[in-house]
């Protein structure tokens, strides 16, 4: 659903308050709506104080990893001896996820303000906002907003008259999902191939250009001004299930659903209610079959699990999946789970950077086995093979792209084995598979 539209009653509208409000894109409009108060307040505190506030709010990384943000910031050196950097991860490419795009194209100043506060807290002079190359509209809007912010003295050598230097630049990506991985993002900023790095060293010790760096997701940073303005206790209080998961989350809902779009709800909100109520439920005559709640890299849920899953970090883990990026992909009974497993495996095979053997070869091999099964030439042992490959692709590589592909295979075979077996047994017509890998 495009903006503007009236939010659903059950939404908790904080980040998405001005989605659809074109005036909010300008500096003046943003200030009118209370913008940049939080930055001003932050600049009057000590950086360490700002970190403490964010820590106690319980804000966790909204890009997928869910790492406590304040804790991540506190990893940066307290004693500054070299340049520090903040990187904003706007490389949103996790299938099913489209929330950062909205934040940037509707409330660019929210992101700028969040970055500036974060940057100040970690004592970074420069923030690079890494925006994926395909996001042409957010790129345009963010650049205009940056120019606006500079023009009004928010950024620059003397940010808001504080005497502090806060510079912010956009770095345009060029088509690589893997650049959404923290260390690959840093390599990409440095003008290299977007290869993830081995750790240690960790970014806070040696990140972009070998300097202490923090990387945060767009949605995470956009939440920061609200936390400063309304206090960490308020944010912590926004929690429906587990106190370790607080605040709101923008859930991007797509697929077989009446009203796809972004929905902002409090942590712990029931997935079933999100789908059936806020999103209007299934298309005419269809029934819910499966749902991936957190972007394609988290395990898929069947109908029962979907309807009892609570949307926070702990709730999803309890159900055997993860909150991830909050990209909710809904499948109804018309979906061919085998085909979609193949299609997701193909996604990972396309996006593999090629460093680790298991990922580079395993993703492609997985696709080919699935294509063969879809073509009606699969055998029972192919399922064992797929699961064995997935096992060997888990926990053994530099980054988790490999694990993500494996998670798709493992969770779909586990819950929809009958569909695979139908192709293998020949009780289902072979599917026509469009294109091949690469």
């Amino acid at each position: 659903m495009g903006y503007p539209h009236k939010p659903h009653d059950k939404e908790t509208v904080i980040l998405s308050e001005y989605f659809g409000d074109a005036e909010a894109r300008s500096y003046a409009g943003w200030v009118k709506r209370g913008g940049y108060k939080a930055l001003k307040a932050s600049l009057e505190m000590q950086p360490a104080e700002v970190i403490e506030i964010v820590k106690s709010s319980g804000l966790r990384g909204r890009g997928g990893a869910g790492f406590p943000t304040g804790v991540k910031w506190s990893f940066m050196p307290k004693e500054k001896s070299k340049p520090h950097y903040l990187c904003c991860n706007a490389d949103e490419a996790e299938p099913g996820t489209f929330k950062d795009r909205e934040i940037m194209r509707w409330t660019p100043h929210a992101l700028i303000e969040g970055c500036a506060i974060a940057q100040y807290a970690i004592q970074a002079e420069i923030t690079y906002i890494y925006i994926r190359g395909e996001f042409t509209e957010p790129l345009r809007i963010m650049q205009a907003a940056l120019d606006d912010a500079y023009g009004n003295g928010v950024l620059g050598d003397d940010a808001m008259g504080s005497g502090r230097r806060l510079d912010m630049y956009i770095h345009r990506g060029a088509g690589a999902y893997i650049c959404g991985e923290e260390t690959a993002l840093m390599n990409s900023i440095e003008g290299q191939r977007g290869n993830p790095r081995i750790r240690p060293p960790f970014p806070a010790a040696s990140g972009v250009f070998g300097m202490p760096t923090t990387i945060n997701n767009v949605e995470t940073l956009a939440a920061v001004p609200h936390i400063i303005n309304r206090g960490p206790e308020w944010y912590k209080g926004l929690s429906l299930n587990n106190e370790k998961s607080s605040g709101t989350k923008l859930f991007s809902v797509a697929g077989h659903i009446q009203r796809p779009g972004n929905y902002e709800v409090t942590m712990g909100f029931p997935l079933g209610e999100l789908i059936n109520d806020l999103c209007g439920g299934m298309r005419q005559g269809r029934t819910l079959k499966a749902c991936i709640p957190g972007g394609s890299s988290v395990p898929i849920l069947n109908r029962e699990e979907t309807e009892s899953c609570l949307l926070d970090y702990e709730g999803c883990v309890e159900m055997g999946t993860m909150l991830g990026s909050g990209g909710v992909i809904v499948f109804d009974d018309s979906a061919d789970m085998v085909y979609q497993t193949m299609r997701l495996a193909r996604f990972y095979a396309h996006e593999s950077c090629a460093q680790c053997t298991q990922c580079r070869e395993g993703t492609g091999w997985t696709v080919r086995i699935l294509e063969r099964i879809l073509a009606g030439q699969g055998e029972q042992k192919d399922l064992d093979l797929l699961l064995d490959l997935a096992d060997q692709m888990t926990g053994k590589t530099i980054c988790v792209l490999s694990d993500s592909c494996a998670a798709v295979v493992i969770s779909t075979i586990k819950r929809f084995r009958n569909e695979f077996e139908a192709y293998i047994a020949g009780t289902r017509e072979p599917a026509v598979v469009a294109v091949g890998v690469g």
């Binding site: 053997t357 298991q358 070869e361 080919r368 926990g395 053994k396 890998v437």
Partner: protein, 522 residues
Amino acid sequence: MADQKLVTLSIEGVEVSVPKGTMILEAAKQAGVLIPHYCYHPGLPIAGVCRMCLIEIEGTPKLQIGCATEVAQGQVVKVFGDEALKARESVLEFLLIHHPLDCPICDQAGECELQNYVFQEGRSNTRYAEYAKRFSPVEDFGADVLYVPNRCILCTRCVRFMEHVADEPVLNVSERGDRAFIGIHPDATLDHEWAGNVVDLCPVGSLISKDFLHKARAWELDRTPSVCTGCSQGCNINLDTRSDIVVRIRPRPNPEVNRHFICDTGRMHYRWMNRGDRIEAPLILRGEELQATDWDHALSEVARLVSGSSGRAVVLISPNASNEAMFLAKRLVAQFTATLAFRVERVDGEIPLSGVPGLALRAERAANVAGATALGYRDDFAAAVRAIEGASLVIVVADDLEGVSREALQKAVNTVYLGTVLPDTARGATLVLPVANTAEEDGTLVNRDGRVQRYLQAKSAPGMARPAWWILGEVLKELGRGESLFSADEAFALMAEAEGQFRGLSYANLGMHGSTMSEARV
């Protein structure tokens, strides 16, 4: 190193103590355990990409890569536990799904790390049943290097070598995923002087040498440690021979000289070792003609000439001759007013390997200038040639006498020419004695940093050719001035006794990495 903190850990039940900061893979070597690996190389920055070196660390839930995990006090490392074995078996299976069964036609067979680890830890069959493998054509990267993309396991050693050690990023990884391959810009070529090392670094037969292409099978080769005579750097090498012919030179690791590398000029510097146009028997001038004779006769003739001469003598020696030969030649003319000389080709400029301090293809294109200088030879060939007129004895050891006429040489009363081939000028010599070349004898050389290094005999000398040290030792014996020398070792010992800069050194304590002379630089 002495005050570096040591860490003690256990690897496969063996306790080792290593400096803090050592990676487990290196520490394992001390425990006598070789953790299988591809992308790791001690001469390159760590990549951690091949995932072949996965091992178990007690208390750590996930497997870790040994090449990039630092040792920790009290760590218990299992290399051959079930989980790690299964993971490594799987890495090998993944590598083999596209790797063609080229062994029968691949030069790397027999010295291939993929073969080795598959035999050691791999599956006996593949489960890959999908469409056919890659069919990318072989590429010429320039100079001596061919790239066979089908065999490439993307370990990126070659890319990292060119970028970080050679400081010329001329190779890249192109594309992503299983479409990736090693690429090069069409305008670029691998003509960097040190680029040939990528062939050695490649664990499989993907980067191969044109010079060595289909020449010999690895298991047919004998490998002998030697020292390159291409320049004064003194890189340590191995001479690979097959049926008494040198077919390949490869670097031999020496942390003090060339680490793991050799330049392309040195790499190709072996064809002269196999020359067929050798002097094969001692020759004696009778009238206008050189006629073959036997060693006994030739040696007693030389002795007769030496004892019957006095006054001035000239020794012209090759700067690639061994220290032993240089020393004994000098000793032979001890009773003369002797002019000892050599000449060496010097080119403009040196070509360093940036990533290795002190390593370059040197301007001086001979291996033993430092030894010659230490033993009293002077780099003044012209003066020595002038001194031939009126000299009662000229001894030439392996100089080709280029630019010296027969007439000029015959201005000396007697000339004894020791050499491998017979130049025209030497046809007027009184005696011509065939010597072994560097590949055909044991000996020592001194590099530009004063390092005395041993080289070993890799192939037989042709015909009746003998090492120069033997010949000179026998003549000295004939003259009653020494005993027969039965090994180069003995010749060296003689020299070490008499020459201050070699004092205290011996073949035993030189080992195969050498030692510096008492003066650091000659």
